[in-house]
Symmetry: C2
Subunit: 236 residues, 2 copies
């Protein structure tokens, strides 16, 4: 089940609230009145908060990992520049390379200086008269892999969608666990603390440490599994 | 007196050591055997460290503000992507817009999330079917202003130059004051602490706090003036 807009066929702004309503419609279609838990990470956590706020009666508990009720202004500025890189490649007919570049910028927002210092601590080299820094091959690889699988419309509209996120925490009254990563530079701990303080129902905050920053939910399997067992234990 | 490469006429890698040697040659030409102090901020601090390491006998003291003996690997990755944005615009014939975009990315590295949260905390808006975030007008203004004054060759070669920085701190034996800004995400405090610990002569570290991050040396006039009076007091 993909997000609205993930196939690139929808070229219009998509609010995370639209995603939550679409999920509710899918549940209707499946004849599922109520679900035991919504577990979402990053954009999935944003949609989870919308689902809880808009369809709370259909949900028993929410686990929101590294996603907040609002985007941070600095992260929004970052994403806006990514979108402009794609727009530059679009108007100039080099969209795949531009999409790869935008993904590479995204990687810098997902990861941390600490990881880069550990993995890419080699001096820059001069190659064919140009300076090449240690992380470039890795980033280019990530960019190419992404550009081969995604189209620019999907990238632009889902990137915009993150910046449209706006949930009143008080409207979320289902029991909620918020998972934050202290090193996350995209979704800062302070924003998730503010979210938890404002939630309208039983709420708890769990804070992980990880040099993978925002990507911790993809990399720290053991810690995430522990948190899910703790949060969903009563479900199983 | 501009940096080598600042006018765009030099399309080759420029090491900060080259800048230091060029300054030494200028002093030769002026008949100045020895200078009382070298005060440099950001790239100027990098060149100052090179000057002290390579021409220490001609220098009585160094003040290095927000510039280190080496680039941080994460900051190098960031600059490498800026250069790729310019390269994209160059091959596609839209170099001024690409240079503006690269500058906007640079602004994100100079400033802090704290400043953006204070100044640009408005919800994103939909304008002509596209999402526009609160900081975009400001960033575009900064980018255009920069692109009107700089050419892409100067940008690329001076950006590369930062990534070529490499000084052995032990080779700097003149009395040195290093000024760090705790919020600087481009030149992290930890790197300047390592620099001070490794310096070969009398050394001291002064740490400022500023929501302007790496740009504090341009914005915190009073604090910088205080530090310069303290560091250079015996000169006057």
């Amino acid at each position: 089940l993909d997000w609205l807009g993930a196939d690139g066929s929808l070229d219009a702004p998509v609010d995370p609230a639209d995603q939550a309503d679409a999920l509710a419609a899918v549940l209707d279609r499946l004849g599922v009145a109520r679900i035991e838990a919504f577990v979402g990470a990053s954009y999935g956590a944003m949609v989870g908060l919308q689902f809880a706020a808009r369809h709370g009666g259909r949900l028993a508990k929410l686990v929101a990992i590294s996603g907040a009720h609002r985007p941070h202004p600095y992260a929004s500025a970052w994403r806006a520049l990514q979108r402009q890189v794609v727009a530059l490649g679009r108007t100039e007919g080099n969209v795949s390379h531009a999409l790869s570049l935008a993904r590479q910028w995204a990687m810098l927002s997902y990861r941390t200086p600490e990881e880069f210092a550990r993995r890419f601590d080699e001096p820059a080299e001069c190659v064919s008269g140009q300076v090449r820094t240690a992380a470039e091959d890795y980033l280019a690889h990530c960019g190419r892999r992404y550009a081969a699988r995604w189209c620019s419309t999907a990238f632009l509209r889902l990137s915009e969608s993150i910046d449209l996120q706006r949930v009143d925490p008080a409207a979320v009254t289902v029991p909620t666990t918020v998972v934050a990563v202290a090193e996350d530079r995209l979704v800062p701990l302070a924003d998730l603390q503010a979210l938890v303080e404002g939630l309208g129902g039983p709420a708890r905050l769990r804070v992980l440490r990880s040099e993978f920053g925002h990507d911790a939910f993809l990399k720290e399997d053991a810690a995430i599994a522990r948190l899910l067992r703790e949060s969903l234990g009563e479900v199983a």
